[in-house]
């Protein structure tokens, strides 16, 4: 929030019209209209994913709060990794009054394309504290190797 009024330097600058339009657009669509919570599906309808490439493996991390191990399905076909799953509602009572509903229940799927140098056979996945971590080893020839330099 800016408290200092912005002053025009050049009177009747043509670009001001664009600036005004942009600020109106930002005010209408950016920030204000969107919820500021950071949930499972508040982005684009699929869980948030991190992909990190280290010297010998590819690490995929996804936020899946409330998703149980048995409701999660992981598929690796070639370089395509699919994370599929569902989250069930814990309780179903007719007498229950709902005041606010921000957490999410339902099914989701997301497919990501991984780099070509991965080894399909060496995959390890772990679901802990609502975060899925998948370790995929790189092919031996793709791993970074330290080469010692001889000095004559």
């Amino acid at each position: 929030m800016e408290l200092v009024p912005w002053k025009k330097n050049v009177p009747n600058d043509l670009w001001d019209a664009f600036d005004d339009l942009r600020s109106v657009m930002e005010r209408s669509f950016g920030g204000f209209g969107l919820p500021d919570v950071t949930g499972l599906l508040d982005r684009t309808g699929s869980p948030a994913i991190d992909i990190i490439e280290t010297s010998d493996e590819i690490l995929v991390m996804a936020d899946l709060p409330g998703v149980k191990k048995e409701d999660l399905e992981l598929n690796l076909a070639g370089t395509l990794l699919t994370i599929k799953g569902s989250k069930k509602s814990e309780q179903n009572s007719d007498k229950r009054k709902i005041f606010r509903k921000e957490t999410w229940v339902g099914s989701f799927a997301r497919t990501i394309d991984l780099p070509a140098n991965i080894d399909n056979e060496k995959v390890d996945a772990e679901l802990k504290d609502g975060v899925l971590t998948v370790h995929i080893s790189k092919k031996e020839e793709a791993k970074t190797k330290a080469i010692s330099v001889r000095v004559n």
Binding site: D50, I58, G66, V67, I98, P115, D129, V131
Partner: protein
């Protein structure tokens, strides 16, 4: 000084929260992935319920090919109604989902009065 201030290099995340009431129990459900029991703080002060949690294990070293998961600390503060029993608050953390059960005081529950 604001005692609730968080370090400036950390983003404050507001966990999504669902609130429902079922026969005398108000249940709060918050999505907090990456938070362990040790990094979670749930406390009650006179009439506020503060829930704070730090995400752990979020920064491996390597090249980021995609980065969508938020980094920061979760915090949510609720104001408790007088009808909530302060001594009967249960919290459970499982699979990145925090469930807080607040019991409504016996005296505040609706009572049926017999007519003589």
């Amino acid at each position: 000084m604001n005692k609730n201030a968080i370090p400036s290099n950390e983003r404050l995340l507001i966990p999504p929260c669902s609130i429902d009431e079922d026969i005398g129990i108000v249940t709060l459900t918050l999505e907090m992935p990456g938070v362990t029991k040790e990094n979670l703080d749930v406390r009650v002060e006179t009439n506020t319920l503060t829930i704070e949690g730090q995400r752990v294990g979020n920064s491996p070293t390597g090249e980021w090919l995609l980065r969508e998961r938020p980094v920061g600390s979760y915090r949510k503060i609720f104001t408790l109604d007088e009808t909530i029993d302060r001594n009967k608050i249960e919290a459970k953390l499982a699979d990145g989902l925090l469930t807080v059960k607040l019991h409504i005081q016996e005296a505040a529950k609706p009572r049926k009065i017999a007519i003589n």
